[in-house]
Assembly symmetry: C4
Homo-oligomer: 254 residues x 4
């Protein structure tokens, strides 16, 4: 295998699909949102994506059967248009690999007549957010007005977006495929399901679907624990409080 | 040379061959097992595998003749079906290289009509094992029952398998080539011939062949020495015993 | 996208164009010069260059619209011949990538009938320069005499030129495309607009154009501040003076 | 430029040429020998080798003219057969690159009817040698006897040969092109012209040519100075002598 390969399980009909990407990234915000969407919309897996740019590893499953590391494409039926959800284990690491994988995905999306691409991710701030905001960035100026109404904040996020969430929109634009990237405000130092909830709230309005956000409550609580510890440590580092038993067991998520 | 090349020495007939892989890996468990199998079954070398993804080095042999770094394919005759044994000096390092080399090997295996792939490796635990168990992972659910009877333990190994032992099964599955990966329990910090013995015991039952496992006894003893030293050092580090003259000369095997 | 792609916006006529390159490099000398040239000559953007060898990132702009990381080609009209100016966000990082991107650019330049290539960069000395000199290096011996008259110093710069400024001339020579690389003397440890001014003075004479160099005065002053701090720190390190409040906030530019 | 390119200056006739390689390597032993051979045999440069796997740099020459980093092929006339000498600035760094460059060189050599390949290098021992021996390694067993008569020592060098000196012979063997690698014993920590002299003595006998080895005397002395310092430091480190003013300014050559 020398290039990324999409193996389609079934050749399903779909109507003007919206492509929604949520792969692992900062705070796992996009991945948590996409995975819940797949569950809640009872989406069907229609394709596997294998790539020589993914780690040369296979995963041992509890049932004694191995599986390749991969990305997956799911299909969910919507009212007017259907949803293609791109989820998975990993993103490619190098620049060359990311451009190749994204190009292959856009080839597929174009063939399927994708009318809009929505990518999901986290916007790292280094701060803990009680009410994470949702930032957006689009491929064309007129889209700013169109998507503001969903409560997405435009023009306040700065810097660059690393990986699939940015490249799918950027490279899509070169093919005249419009897209919007939604980013949930997040600390960046822990898995942030609360930010994913905020993201999903906006997304569900956009897609006109319903998702039970309470399904994430347990993960939100786990994240809040981490967040509290981080805040205490930060304050302790500044000489403000004694952190007690807090230890350095924060899991950093890239 | 810009891609992996398999140069076949002879075009030999073979019956429904089983592909058995044992390349260098954790504890050298798979390599030791495969190399002994080659010797004991008097397998004939039928092909060399060269790759630009192997180190850019040649090996100086005692007789004054150099040879390229390579992998080798051996053929041994079995009762009902023959055995193709994949052994060698190295594995490719990067993901892209591993996918390419494995793809080339599977092309060859498919052409030869390989009916089953068995890969051999170590399962690193960080502990010393008196009686190493043999874990298995297969490409399809029904195979679990089929191989349990040989004493292989399924569903207890966790995480991922790195390199050829995993990819050959994983990528083979995409071509509908069934496979099983056998992993001998091993510490991971030294060359473990005892784990290779355990692996071979199971493998010989599966293949219905006989191999003199005592040939590995000297290497088993050398490994046990290392193991004892590791255990003493670990205990010493925990403040339990004084390790005496034990020094840090453990060779770590990737 | 698996190779560098030049997307031309318009198919404009041009007369015997001179290609002028100023991408990010040491002290940002070349980039500052090229960017000012684009502004002052009211050059029109005629092409975008995208590459899988650029970072896998997109840039979030203030207006809420993202854009890919890229290089750009601008066209400005000159008296006798026109100017193609190559500017942009980044250079490729690895050798292989640099050769590929430069090759694509030269393909384009050749098709457009480029008669001369001028590349702009900094010549790092590790010293602060009150009056930065401009060093030159050409593709063929007779060019030395031809360009000396503009005040360019030949034969005093040593070592090698890394990246596009060197490769465009070097690889161009293999296609019999003559070129000259201009390097403004610079410290290397900070953004040096003063060196860019010196470079532009020479370049404007060569191109017979006028550019308002005062537009860089603010950046020159900012650079001089850094330079003073560096000098103080260097002397302090040698035990000559106490640097007072000087801190290590020098931005190092590659 | 996406692959290694050999640009031949002239299409010269040659008789059963012997390919002699001496690129930068351990102790620069091979490079020094090849470069002197070029000078002494008044060899003519007949080809340049450019590669995207060489550093993305150009070299500034004293005369104000730049040149690409490259390898070169020279042709010298011999009594019965001619000599193709491969010399140059660098070797490629990665495995993939080394295999590609070597493959291209062998394509060229094959086309030119090369009858024998001789590669030159150093054999690093970590010791200083008063009378460096010359080790050899060949592609086929019968060659050992054939080359022993020149004073080359076979079967005493161990381990592997890294880079072009090994790959040219190893990959050449796959094309049935016989070769011998000559290695001058060397410390490895400094440029060793004395080892190059030893190498050339053997080589001149093999090629039936004369080379004035005194041309290297100045470099030999410079090397001996380094060697003495290294020995003193080593002994000092073992507590045997006080090294006096010796400082750590040894240049390590890869």
């Amino acid at each position: 295998m020398i290039e990324t390969t999409i193996i389609e399980k079934k050749n399903i009909k779909m109507r003007k699909p919206v492509l929604i990407e949520g792969l692992p990234g900062i705070g796992l915000v996009g991945k948590i949102a996409a995975d819940l969407l797949v569950d809640e919309l009872k989406a069907e897996k229609i394709a596997d994506i294998y790539s020589p740019h993914f780690p040369h590893q296979v995963i041992m499953q509890k049932n004694g059967v191995m599986r390749m590391i991969k990305n997956r494409i799911y299909l969910a039926k919507g009212k007017k248009r259907d949803f293609l959800i791109l989820a998975g284990d990993v993103q490619a690491v190098t620049s060359e690999a990311q451009y190749e994988v994204t190009g292959k995905m856009l080839d597929y999306a174009q063939k399927k007549g994708v009318s809009l691409t929505i990518t999901l991710g986290g916007y790292g701030t280094g701060k803990v957010h009680d009410k994470p905001r949702v930032f957006g960035i689009v491929s064309n100026k007129p889209m700013v007005e169109e998507y503001k109404k969903y409560g997405i904040i435009f023009g306040e996020s700065k810097g660059s977006i690393i990986g699939a969430a940015g490249l799918l929109i950027g490279m899509g634009k070169l093919r005249e495929m419009p897209g919007v990237c939604l980013m949930g405000e997040t600390h960046g130092g822990f898995v942030d399901a609360k930010s994913a909830q905020a993201l999903l709230e906006v997304l569900c309005k956009m897609l006109e679907v319903k998702v039970d956000l309470k399904k994430l409550d347990a993960r939100v609580k786990a994240g809040e624990k981490f967040a509290k510890r981080i805040e205490q440590e930060t304050m302790a580092a500044k000489g403000m409080v004694h952190p007690g038993g807090a230890k350095h067991d924060l899991s950093y998520i890239r």
